[in-house]
Symmetry: C2
Subunit: 197 residues, 2 copies
């Protein structure tokens, strides 16, 4: 198509990335070839490094470039707080906020009887181990506010309530949110959890 | 942010690609790390190859992995027809149609007095050379139907009309197009170029 097999292959692989299709993959490849020093070479080198080193942290499930990730090895993060999230992308979102100073535990999904996902598939046994070995005093259940996420949160809460302090993220009006655009569930939750000024 | 510098670097570079932003770059990188054998390793390898070999064809300006691209070296494409396009992406679009069997000449842009783009910046001298050296009998001006594209087409036509047969792409109703959604200019052009059935 473009007169070179390597470039066609590159377009085909790029088109498989989420958010890109054949047309945007072609555009991205042309852009890369034109910005060789600025983009193509750095991207090729970084991808090689990541392909060789990226792995799941054996402790928390985060994705990093060593067996145990930087958050798990940092002593500053040993605050006794453990934030349980569904997915690595949720961990990254929490980190971007900069609001949490403790460690994480990535479940890798939600419980689902239909899909055959039980507690053992979700690294919940590992979670109970960590509470003992890492002297965890508080577990923050930062699961998504979906039916599956909340079911999983209830299951974990049932298992851990006798052993550790448990909390969940507050529900309410998002910062910058307008009431007119919020769904009824969020408004109800915000009203029920209202605070005295 | 994600607890590993290499992965953060990869996200930063991916976010600079056209069509991707920080959020979709993070999604793409997570997807890549999870599909290591299927996507990450092939992408890293192909990018290395392309970064080492991709270059502009010295003859036509197409992007390939050798000094002279496959279209220019193929004897089957020496039909005496030369298709002049603005950009490599236009060449690829023509190739996808499969309708043209000759060779190409990529101008690399359009004439623009404001931006200081004259004929010498657009490989127009190279075009006139090729008409002699490659025994070109017909030049097809496949420039975009924009003001700049048509200005450039007129300039090239003025310079070449005594030396070679010149043609441009037909203008009219696109295949599958509905009149109700077409602009007035296209309808006028299609009416003026009407054909007897």
């Amino acid at each position: 198509m473009s007169s070179s097999k390597d470039i066609d292959d590159l377009i085909d692989i790029m088109a498989k990335l989420p958010g890109l299709g054949p047309r945007s993959a072609r555009r991205a490849v042309l852009h890369l070839v034109r910005k060789r020093a600025l983009l193509l070479t750095p991207l090729a080198d970084t991808l090689q490094t990541v392909a060789a080193t990226a792995r799941e942290c054996l402790n928390c499930g985060n994705i990093g470039t060593s067996d145990v990730c930087d958050i798990c090895t940092s002593n500053e993060r040993a605050t006794g707080e453990l934030c349980v999230v569904e997915d690595v992308s949720d961990l990254w979102a929490m980190e971007r906020s900069g609001a949490f100073k403790g460690r994480y535990h990535v479940l890798g999904g939600t419980l689902s009887a239909l899909d055959g996902v039980g507690p053992d598939e979700l690294s919940i046994p590992k979670l109970t181990d960590r509470i003992t070995t890492e002297d965890i005093t508080e577990v923050i259940l930062a699961l998504n506010a979906t039916v599956d996420g909340q079911t999983t949160a209830h299951y974990i809460a049932d298992h851990l309530e006798s052993r550790v302090k448990l909390s969940t993220l507050a529900q309410g009006v998002p910062i910058g949110g307008e009431l007119d655009y919020l769904d009824e569930g969020t408004i109800s939750a915000a009203l029920n959890a209202r605070k005295t000024v």
